[in-house]
């Protein structure tokens, strides 16, 4: 488990049980930063979706988390990094209802709605990095 005051950390995603570990760590950090129960639930749910994407599409990867500051507001940044197949068409993947695997067809657009900022860097055959940010409302 993470040191309570650590500014950043990471959770390797290699198995299904690591998705639970990622959720737990994100929940703990979000609560420490002072996010509300609802925002914490949003962040943890987003983390769960992306950690599962790594396991499902890339097989393995890592989730980085980092405390962030902007002026007087603090927040949490999450990065999901893998060396998997990559996303050929990010614009398509961001379309409502688009999903490449059997699912509810949600994925990335749903995750974006839960967070304040989302950035996707991906190249085919090299991997994908999804960066999420959530700011605490003051």
């Amino acid at each position: 488990m993470t040191m309570t005051s650590a500014p950043e950390g990471q959770v390797p995603i290699k198995s299904e049980s690591d998705i639970v570990l990622a959720r737990r760590e994100v929940r703990e950090i979000a609560a420490q930063i002072g996010f509300s129960v609802t925002d914490t639930t949003r962040i943890v749910t987003a983390a769960s979706e992306l950690a599962r994407n790594i396991f499902k599409y890339a097989g393995q990867g890592v989730m980085h988390w980092r405390r962030i500051e902007k002026g007087s507001s603090s927040g949490l940044e999450l990065q999901f990094i893998d060396n998997g197949p990559g996303i050929a068409d990010i614009a398509l993947a961001m379309q409502e209802g688009y999903s490449t695997s059997k699912g509810l067809g949600l994925g990335l657009p749903g995750v974006k709605r839960l967070m304040d900022e989302m950035d996707i860097q991906s190249s085919v055959g090299k991997g994908t990095t999804v960066t999420l940010k959530k700011w605490q409302r003051s």
Partner: protein, 124 residues
């Protein structure tokens, strides 16, 4: 930490309680557990208590929704009880749907639903 699904028979129903943060294999086990218990106990329906659940993601939602469909095919009824406010807000925002599954604020209310009204399980 206890992280297993509990299935107990209450009258003619199955009361299924989900743990706070189940891993994917535990969620996947829901279907087989519930359907087996439906047959074994000749149950009229399933009351799924998710009041402890802190995170409902698309995988969890899909599994619950599919399980409810299967219970319907077996002639049973499914009621989901106790979704937390933060979970309901998040699920709606992310676009999750549980199909046409009946819901109740608490397990108590869900039990009331099964003993009164036109869809009464007792009347079946």
């Amino acid at each position: 930490m206890e992280n297993n699904i509990s299935v107990i028979k209450v009258r003619n129903l199955l009361l299924v309680t989900m743990p706070p943060d189940p891993d994917d294999p535990t969620v996947s086990a829901l279907q087989a557990k519930v359907l087996d218990a439906m047959e074994r106990h000749q149950a009229a329906g399933v009351l799924l208590d998710i009041s402890q659940v802190e995170t409902l993601d698309s995988f969890f939602a899909r599994t619950v929704s599919e399980t409810a469909q299967m219970v319907t095919l077996m002639g049973g009824r499914t009621i989901i009880a106790g979704m937390r406010p933060a979970v309901a807000i998040t699920a709606t925002q992310i676009g999750l749907t549980l199909g046409n599954i009946e819901t109740a604020l608490t397990v108590d209310r869900a039990l009331d639903m099964t003993t009164q009204g036109p869809k009464s399980i007792r009347q079946r």
